[in-house]
């Protein structure tokens, strides 16, 4: 059954009965504790990903690799990050593969991509909680959408370094609210981690710059949450 399913996958396209791939779905779950079987399964999936199979087939493979892909899948997925049709599905897998190689692949491709594909990679780095050093300069990117994405990602990472990066960003009126929002996300996380001083300084910094009304109210609320001592 599994063999037939892989055969069907080679030409799988929208409109084909989705149940032809059920054996692969089942194999992914059943091989959880069988490293050799998992390795073989991953290898078969990667063969399809690197073939001329239809987009839908590769979409299916990326979904499986999200669930069970390892560092072995990273090179093939990394290659797809620059592919407009498959970049998202490559991230769909890479974002959830816990091995560091997945994050390194995203970092490597960040400088090589532009526009929407770059924004996608920025988003995935934010989700994985890494890449502050690379995201920081993007706050000055001439593409406002890229700069905005970097700010959101840094707010998602919300580490002390991310907070510093946001705090040192050049004022940019169109991004004022997003930058402030990301800074407040950092402040909340820092406060929750016991770094009240840094959180307080962040809110005070935001309030100093005559922020928009909504930001001012939010920052005042955050400041109130910081211990007074």
């Amino acid at each position: 059954m599994l063999e037939q399913s892989f055969e069907a996958l080679k030409t799988y396209d929208w409109g084909v009965d989705r149940h032809v791939l059920d054996p692969i779905d089942e194999a992914v779950v059943k091989t959880r504790n069988d490293a050799a079987a998992r390795k073989e399964l991953e290898s078969q999936l990667l063969a399809v990903l690197q073939s001329n199979a239809p987009r839908d087939a590769k979409d299916f493979v990326c979904r499986q690799l999200r669930t069970m892909g390892t560092a072995a899948s990273v090179p093939a997925l990394e290659q797809l990050l620059a592919n407009a049709e498959l970049s998202h599905m490559a991230r769909y897998a890479l974002e959830r593969i816990p091995e560091p190689q997945a994050g390194q692949a995203l970092e490597r491709q960040l400088a090589k991509l532009n526009g929407q594909l770059k924004i996608g990679v920025i988003s995935s780095l934010g989700t994985r909680g890494q890449g502050v050093r690379l995201l920081r300069p993007l706050l000055r990117d001439s593409d406002e959408a890229v700069a905005r994405a970097a700010a959101i990602a840094l707010g998602r990472i919300a580490s002390a370094d991310a907070n510093k990066a946001l705090g040192s960003a050049r004022p940019r009126p169109a991004l004022a609210v997003v930058l402030a929002d990301a800074s407040m996300a950092c402040a909340e996380k820092l406060l929750a981690a016991g770094h009240a001083k840094e959180a307080k300084a962040t809110y005070q910094r935001l309030l100093k710059n005559n922020p928009p009304e909504l930001v001012r109210l939010a920052a005042e609320r955050g400041l109130k949450a910081c211990p007074t001592a």
Binding site: Y12, W14, G15, D17, R18, L21, V29, R32, D56, F60, R63, T67, M68, E85, S87, H88, M89, Y92, L94, E95, R96, I97, P98, Q116, L117, I119, G120, I122, S123, T127, G129, Q130, G131, V132, R133, A149, A153, I157, S159, D161, A162, V177, D181, A185, E188, K189, L190, L191, A192, A193, G194, H195, E213, L214, L217, R221, G222, K224, A225, P227
Partner: protein, 417 residues
């Protein structure tokens, strides 16, 4: 380098504690410095300038029902409609214009344009589930109060930002299950009255999970912005059944498909689990464990959610009915007052009342997120066919890299949460 490791330990304050410290978890949300004139009602007729100014995003099916619920309210001034289907938004605009006898209602394809308006106080959202978290957080960032249809989240990871944004910006954010209070009131009253003694467990019944969609391509209808409908979901060709908003979860609506919905366990689960958690009074908690039971023979698997206080919620336990309660009647329990809607007019009235008073609504987003997390934990346990441990404070499956992969999904560019 993993920047998270740069954060010095130890963690002294949880996010929940931060919210409490900020005074944000009290029953009254922080007041804005100004109360919009539109939110100050008076006796008798309400002048348009004093009504709550509302916009609607996602207006088909359930969104259409919510639209009617808001438009019909005297304290609402409906200003704008948004839908990616031109025929839907044109029809809704016409209804608004007809009500007010003018042509003033604005119609948008892109929700960001509606949210950018500074003259709108509140929005109701009834898009497919894959859009909810993005729109709710963006609405909060623009200072809007939000009524968001259930299921409020599509993944576990979407819940905390929705709560954080609501609290950060002092917004009233209500989930949209009217059934939690209205359908299960009898069970809730029995539990809260003390008549059942010590409540031990409650069962929930729902049917199928969502699944993959592989429908064939069809031409995109004129006036249908398919790219915007898909938004953060994986790209797929248009098919009318893929995006139909009817309430079925079997193959002919977006509610059937994994990319847009959890299927019945989240779609009806939002109601049933919402009612169950209300009845056994664990709305403010998330489970710490999900036990996967796989009986021998042909009986289907079922789940048992274990709460930190020992309460158990089962899903599809054989021989149990929906919202059937197990209790120890020999233990005496004092009655507790049952919380309900504030204001008049059901869950929408509750939301509008809270927009005026800045109180927390009945289905405050944090309670809604807790219910949805229960549904998502169940979905993951069924997918993996095994039991799971859940750390609600850290929003993670401790030491379980396989399950942790399921807490979220990458969003299609340029959408970012």
């Amino acid at each position: 380098m993993d920047e998270k490791k740069l954060l010095p330990a130890p963690i002294k304050t949880t996010r929940r504690e931060f919210i409490k410290a900020a005074g944000l978890a009290s029953t009254v949300l922080a007041l804005p410095t100004f109360i919009p004139a539109s939110a100050l009602g008076r006796d008798g007729a309400i002048a348009p300038s004093e009504r709550i100014r509302v916009g609607g995003i996602g207006l088909g099916n359930q969104g259409g029902s919510d639209f009617g619920g808001f438009l019909g309210r005297a304290e609402v001034q409906y200003l704008a409609v948004c839908d990616v289907r031109k025929n839907v938004r044109d029809a809704k605009k016409a209804q608004v214009d007809e009500r007010y006898k003018n042509k003033d209602c604005a119609a948008y394809n892109d929700f960001r344009e509606l949210l950018a308006r500074t003259d709108i106080d509140a929005v109701h959202v009834a898009t497919p589930d894959h859009w909810h978290a993005l729109i709710v957080t963006e609405a909060c960032r623009h200072g809007k109060d939000v009524f968001c249809q259930k299921p409020e989240t599509l993944t576990l990871r979407e819940g905390p930002p929705m709560v954080e944004y609501a609290r950060r910006y002092g917004r009233v954010v209500s989930g949209g299950s009217q059934r939690v209070l209205e359908d299960y009131r009898g069970t809730v009253d029995m539990c809260w009255s003390g008549k059942l003694g010590q409540v031990l467990a409650i069962n929930v019944q729902t049917n199928n999970l969502s699944h993959a969609c592989n429908l064939p391509p069809e031409p995109v209808p004129e006036g249908f912005d398919w790219e915007m409908w898909l938004g953060p979901a994986p790209w797929a060709p248009f098919n009318a059944k893929r995006c139909d908003g009817n309430f079925s979860t079997v193959e002919n609506s977006w509610r059937s498909y994994w990319d847009y919905s959890g299927g019945e366990i989240t779609d009806w689960g939002a109601h049933h689990f919402g009612g169950a958690t209300f009845a056994v009074d664990v709305r403010e908690l998330q489970p710490q464990e999900v036990i996967y039971h796989a009986p021998e023979g042909t009986q289907r698997a079922f789940l048992e959610f274990v709460y930190p206080n020992g309460i158990r919620i089962t899903h599809c336990k054989p021989g149990k009915a929906n919202l059937e309660v197990d209790s120890n009647e020999s233990v005496t329990r004092a009655p507790k007052p049952v919380p309900g809607y504030k204001g008049k007019g059901g869950i929408i009235g509750d939301f509008l009342y809270c927009v005026r008073t800045r109180e927390k609504p009945f289905r405050d987003i944090e309670l809604a997120v807790n219910t949805m997390s229960l549904c998502h934990l169940g979905t993951i346990a069924y997918h993996l066919q095994r039991s799971l441990k859940w750390d609600a404070a850290k929003q993670t499956f401790p030491g379980d890299t396989e399950a942790n992969r399921f807490t979220d999904r990458a969003r299609r560019q340029p959408w970012q949460l």
